[in-house]
């Protein structure tokens, strides 16, 4: 009996270990530090930093699907594009308010997400991959052909983004645009961090691990995945809407296979299933692209390709898993 008591005392209670597992780590605040540093660098960095913030939001939305729910998709660009077009079209028709524009983009993407998700989530693995691939070609072709609505191949012109909260205009040096994008990024990050550390997020990861078992402990697996899919679509739509507002343009490059494949590559380079991977990947990718692609696009493509191949072969966890190695935690 006394033996039992002493072992119980030595052992950390489960609730306490959960607290330490899910606590906010100092390293998680690094992106926030980076966000705060950008304005100190001078206005020349605003465009790149804004693009990183937008892409990171998009990457976070994809990580929710790929990393947490285990749904590999080649068609996530659909939601980015729908968000961009929706807020762009609203703006062309006179609704240029940037904040509500984001909600318009998110809502449009969520609607498309719930419909498409309802259909494609009935399948898994290769078939699911193929259905997302078909969807993305379908949607971008529809955007191409519906010229009266989307401007077709020329893109949507005449997008006018109004002043933020009716006060700050989107100036030429990109300061307002940056601060707006950075704020949205921080909010999305806080929201997603809450979600994945909540019981809901844990249950999504459980489905990723073992859908059959999840069903057997009473989860309605497909509806739950559909919720995640829709949330992810809405966030991707927010990112797209933000892109359209900053660019004052929406076009075929915002939707389609290329952007879908690129964001998947960025995410995987950073590492899936850990939100900071979705931040590191796009940031490193876009900075490297900014430095290298200007000099020689083909060389950039070569190095990028080699980097992807090497990452998959040697660092399957992506860049962010290297941080674990440095901290000596190995794969744990």
């Amino acid at each position: 009996m006394s033996d039992d008591v002493s072992t119980a005392e030595r052992r950390v209670p489960f609730a306490a270990s959960l607290r330490s597992k899910h606590r906010l780590r100092p390293a998680e605040l690094l992106p926030l530090v980076a966000v705060a540093i950008v304005p100190l660098l001078g206005s020349g960095y605003y465009p790149l930093a804004t693009q990183i913030a937008i892409t990171v939001i998009f990457g976070l939305s994809l990580d929710l699907l790929v990393g947490y729910a285990g749904i590999v998709t080649l068609g996530h660009g659909i939601f980015f594009g729908v968000g961009a077009y929706a807020s762009g079209i609203a703006s062309v028709h006179g609704w240029g308010d940037p904040v509500s524009g984001l909600f318009i983009g998110a809502a449009a993407a969520a609607v498309v997400g719930v419909v498409q998700g309802f259909v494609v989530l009935r399948t898994a693995r290769f078939t699911l991959l193929m259905l997302t691939l078909c969807s993305v070609f379908l949607v971008s072709e529809v955007a191409n052909k519906a010229g009266w609505l989307t401007g077709g191949a020329d893109g949507l012109t005449g997008v006018m983004t109004g002043p933020l909260l009716g006060v700050w205009t989107f100036d030429l040096d990109g300061r307002t645009g940056y601060l707006f994008s950075a704020t949205v990024f921080v909010l999305v990050w806080i929201g997603l961090r809450g979600l994945v550390h909540a019981p809901f997020g844990q249950s999504i990861m459980a489905i990723r691990d073992n859908p059959g078992r999840a069903e057997a402990i009473g989860m309605a697996v497909r509806p739950r995945l559909l919720i995640v899919y829709t949330v992810s679509a809405a966030i991707a739509g927010t990112a797209g809407a933000l892109q359209a507002e900053i660019d004052q343009f929406a076009g075929l490059k915002n939707v389609g296979f290329e952007i879908s494949a690129t964001i998947l590559v960025m995410l995987a380079l950073g590492g899936t299933g850990r939100l900071y991977g979705a931040m590191a990947g796009p940031a490193v990718y876009l900075i490297a692209q900014d430095l290298l692609a200007k000099i020689n696009p083909a060389m950039w493509q070569l190095w990028l390709g080699l980097l992807i191949v090497a990452t998959v072969l040697f660092v399957p966890g992506g860049l962010s898993s290297l941080a674990d190695v440095f901290r000596g935690r190995g794969k744990r």
């Binding site: 590999v72 078939t127 290329e258 998947l264 083909a298 998959v312």
Partner: protein, 287 residues
């Protein structure tokens, strides 16, 4: 009537190209469960080897149609041994990424070597004429393409049914564990079929150079068509690929004749609906 025959002929020729570039993937995906989005690089390699050999060394087209696939097959075998084989059994995300990376590398190499513009693959003069049969006119080159497609389809069919290698492939596709337990060397089998798939892809890339033009983005542009054929045919089937190619080619050719503006939309809607109704494809056994 003339138009119908024309459509049927065009469909058949296009189907032959689709079949050749994708049948290898059908086998490797079914056999190893590897989602290889980069299968198109073999077709691209075949096309570039031939185009270069003809324009730089004046090699005869007929010889290169045979020689280039052999070269590509060797390259594919090396690639399989060195890289692909390390990723069998990994999740589809890793496989998808790896093959996207490979497409980037192949595209960049091509662009650095041959420049960004598409390459011309010069065809022999003898084939650039039409064969008149009554009111119908057939482009001789397309007849060769159809003949090659059919020959490969029949060859694979017979090879799978009649030869020892075929029996081994069939056994391994249908039940890998069983095949291994009766002592098949599946890893060598994988390399061999991968190389064969690469060679067939190369033939498709060469014969289809007029349909899918040879540029640095070739592998990305052809990707969705190759994957679509495989998905429609279904995994773990070796005979479904030709019918799937024919189906997709006919759909695209017919819509190109009558509804050219909506060809892409019709194609992908149809494939989407088909995969929903039959997630395993038309003839697939594995989902």
């Amino acid at each position: 009537m003339v138009t119908l025959v024309e459509i049927a002929f065009q469909s058949l020729a296009y189907a032959s190209v689709l079949y050749l570039v994708s049948v290898g993937l059908s086998v490797t995906l079914g056999l190893m469960g590897f989602v290889n989005l980069a299968h198109g690089i073999f077709a691209m390699a075949g096309g570039y080897v031939v185009a270069t050999a003809i324009s730089a060394a004046g090699a005869p087209w007929w010889v290169m149609v045979i020689a280039a696939p052999v070269v590509v097959a060797l390259g594919a075998a090396v690639l399989e041994r060195l890289l692909y084989s390390r990723l069998y059994g990994r999740g589809e995300l890793d496989q998808v990424l790896f093959s996207i990376g490979l497409i980037f590398v192949a595209g960049a190499v091509v662009r650095l070597t041959f420049g960004p513009l598409p390459q011309q693959l010069r065809l022999p003069e003898a084939l650039l004429q039409s064969l008149e049969v009554g009111p119908f006119s057939f482009f001789l080159y397309k007849l060769v393409v159809v003949a090659a497609g059919l020959a490969v389809a029949i060859g694979i069919h017979l090879g799978i049914e009649r030869t020892r290698l075929g029996a081994m492939v069939r056994a391994a596709v249908e039940n890998r564990g069983m095949a291994e337990s009766i002592g098949l060397d599946t890893s060598r089998l994988f390399t061999a079929t991968f190389a064969l798939g690469g060679a067939l892809g190369a033939v498709g890339g060469i014969l289809g150079a007029d349909v899918f033009s040879l540029g640095p983005t070739y592998a990305f542009e052809i990707l969705v068509y190759v994957q679509t054929v495989v998905a429609v045919a279904g995994l773990g089937t070796l005979r479904g690929s030709f019918l799937a190619s024919l189906l997709i080619a006919t759909l695209q050719t017919v819509s190109a004749y009558y509804l050219p503006a909506f060809g892409t939309i019709i194609l992908f809607s149809a494939v989407f609906l088909l995969l929903l109704a039959r997630p395993r494809g038309l003839f697939g056994r594995i989902s």
